[in-house]
């Protein structure tokens, strides 16, 4: 019979405390505990409540990583408390850990936040199969494995909010729908059974649209179900171009401008790209551009060193292009 040694370590927890009914500002309470290697973050939340302060508040339910209620932040890292091992947390961050809610500015009580913005944005993308149902079908409604794979695991989302509150754009801009809402939109757009023909247009037009993603990959890193929301945002971009719904705006021209520049030079013409993307809006870049020019940071179109074997690149752009604008 093998024996398992459970290592115990002393860990200091700095825990965010706030009660919106009583406190003007949040504060941090310190708890020092012996932590065993088999514990998960949720065990620590439980022990704070059971052993230290019964008023400590947090959400939890299934303890199996499926209900999505217990997401919080440990040292800034979004984590599903019931899934995240304490051993991993100590390995990454050491023995001083800060426990905070998903969004400090939305805190109601300790770890509990007002998730209304998340749910409003989620609801806005029509996150369900929208289709005419034949009540007297004569055959099975078959979905092939390839069609099912097209969802690319977007259907695994548990609406925990980890990606949403890890997104720096959501933090700054209320108009941005966020990675979770976009992943949900993709999940149903990619479903062969779905018949909603306005969702893609809606998503493109609501709030600040689909183009404000900063491409930081925080959402991909945060998702406990490894759904990779940023990849789904990219797929929505592709869908908009493919369906001819990508209106000409600074973001779409910015994406298309790369192809134009590559076709002409192989490399990018940085100034040309900004001009093509902004059109008349280029004016607002003039002050910074002048400063950059004075420091030798702007190469005029005739000074650009084109890629060697440019004919190859041009041939490939011609033969491999799959999109039109």
């Amino acid at each position: 019979m093998s024996t398992t040694t459970i290592n115990t370590q002393k860990v200091n927890f700095n825990v965010f405390r706030f009660n919106a009914d009583e406190d003007y500002l949040p504060y941090y309470e310190n708890y020092s505990m012996d932590v065993t290697s088999e514990e998960v973050v949720l065990d620590i939340l439980n022990r704070i409540k059971w052993d230290h302060d019964g008023s400590f508040s947090y959400r939890r339910s299934c303890r199996h990583g499926i209900c999505g209620t217990c997401a919080i932040k440990v040292n800034g890292r979004v984590t599903l408390a019931c899934k995240e091992s304490m051993t991993d947390m100590i390995e990454i961050f050491g023995n001083e850990l800060t426990i905070e809610p998903l969004s400090k500015k939305r805190a109601i009580k300790d770890m509990i936040i007002d998730k209304a913005d998340f749910w409003e944005k989620h609801e806005a993308v029509t996150p369900y199969l929208d289709t005419e149902i034949d009540e007297n079908p004569t055959a099975e409604n078959l979905v092939t494995p390839a069609q099912a794979n097209a969802l690319d695991e977007a259907d695994l989302c548990i609406q925990c909010g980890a990606c949403h509150y890890a997104c720096p754009v959501v933090e700054i801009s209320d108009a941005f729908m966020g990675p979770a809402a976009f992943a949900a939109a993709y999940r149903f757009e990619a479903d062969v059974r779905d018949g909603n023909d306005s969702r893609l247009t809606d998503v493109n037009q609501m709030g600040s649209g689909v183009w404000d993603c900063v491409k930081c990959f925080e959402c991909a890193e945060a998702c406990p179900k490894e759904i990779n929301p940023i990849e789904k945002i990219g797929k929505l971009h592709n869908m908009l171009f493919q369906s001819g719904q990508a209106n000409s705006n600074v973001a779409t021209r910015h994406a298309v401008g790369f192809e134009k520049s590559i076709k002409r030079n192989g490399v990018l013409d940085e100034g040309g790209l900004v001009l093509y993307s902004e059109l008349a809006g280029i004016v607002k870049h003039v002050p910074v551009a002048l400063k950059m020019f004075s420091k030798g940071k702007i190469v005029p179109p005739w000074g650009i060193i084109k890629s060697d074997n440019l004919d190859e690149i041009q041939k490939l752009v011609k033969s491999s292009s799959t999109a039109k604008f």
Binding site: I92, A255, L316
Partner: protein, 293 residues
């Protein structure tokens, strides 16, 4: 250890808006006796925007760039985080999807090239750490940066998605607590500044479509470094550099306070510590004045 030799994918920025990065890369490579064979045939990587328009074309073009590194039989070294991400992502997707690889190779065949998947792709930062060694750097330092508090700014596309990034280098990096750039600062004799934004986004990729969001992220980053008592910042990414160095006015307006710090490319920092003459490091090309050299 024999002489280190890599295929250098410069990316577009080093040849245009950050000439100082190209200069300092070559100066440092010479100092470290690393041979860099420039891939002059390479195209733009698409900078994570081309793929939004045409994903397949982006794959084909990046595979072509890698094919040239393979022709030399060399590891490809990148000096831009976004080039690193797009190239490594292409390699990852092609190496894990035989059908996609075949479709891409069908196109490359038209120009007499083939993508085999034989070249590693790594950022210069990790090439230095994994292959050259920070201990050796430490021994070569002639001007320790000990009087400076230096704020590392990692840049998203070198650390996320971590699963992909950790395929490309040997030294494991955790995106929530990265250490590579801190270790490099320490090897150069400097003092590292720990601050919340060091592994956060600079906003570069949304600068045109969401200027306020982008400027706020830039402002938060510089403000974080300033509040951490940094004398200057250092980054391995020329796109982060552009944001932090040239956009301080918009950043200050966005965050409601004056933010500005000199920002060095990683190569410039190494160059200073190893005694490269400052004029070979291109400090005069900075918009925010580098006032301590």
């Amino acid at each position: 250890m024999g002489k280190l030799k890599y295929a250098l994918f410069t990316g577009c920025t080093a040849k245009q808006s950050t000439p100082e990065q190209m200069m300092s890369t070559m100066a440092v490579a010479e100092k470290l006796d690393i041979e860099l064979v420039e891939l002059t045939e390479a195209s733009c990587c698409g900078a994570s925007h081309l793929q939004d328009y045409d994903d397949f074309l982006s794959l084909v073009l990046n595979a072509r760039n890698i094919a040239y590194a393979e022709k030399h039989g060399l590891t490809m070294v990148t000096i831009c985080n976004t080039c690193q991400l797009n190239t490594a992502m292409t390699k990852h997707r092609l190496d894990n999807n035989a059908d996609l690889k075949a479709r891409v190779n069908e196109k490359l065949e038209e120009v007499g090239l083939v993508y085999a998947g034989t070249s590693k792709i790594t950022h210069f930062l990790y090439a230095i750490i994994d292959d050259f060694g920070l201990d050796k750097i430490k021994k070569m330092v002639v001007t320790p940066l000990s009087q400076f508090n230096i704020a590392p700014f990692y840049g998203c596309h070198n650390i996320r998605p971590s699963e992909l990034q950790n395929e490309t280098h040997d030294t494991p990096e955790n995106s929530y607590n990265p250490t590579s750039l801190d270790d490099l600062i320490i090897a150069c004799g400097g003092n590292t500044v720990d601050y919340e934004q060091k592994n956060k986004c600079c906003g570069f990729h949304a600068e045109l479509q969401a200027p306020k969001v982008a400027a706020t992220l830039t402002g938060n980053a510089i403000a974080g470094a300033m509040d951490g008592n940094a004398d200057w910042m250092v980054t391995p990414c020329p796109l982060c550099h552009l944001k932090l160095d040239t956009q301080t006015h918009h950043a200050s307006v966005a965050v409601g306070r004056e933010v500005s710090l000199p920002v060095l490319h990683m190569q410039q920092m190494i160059g200073l510590a190893l005694g490269c003459p400052p004029e070979t490091l291109g400090m005069k090309h900075h918009v925010t004045k580098v006032d301590f050299v």
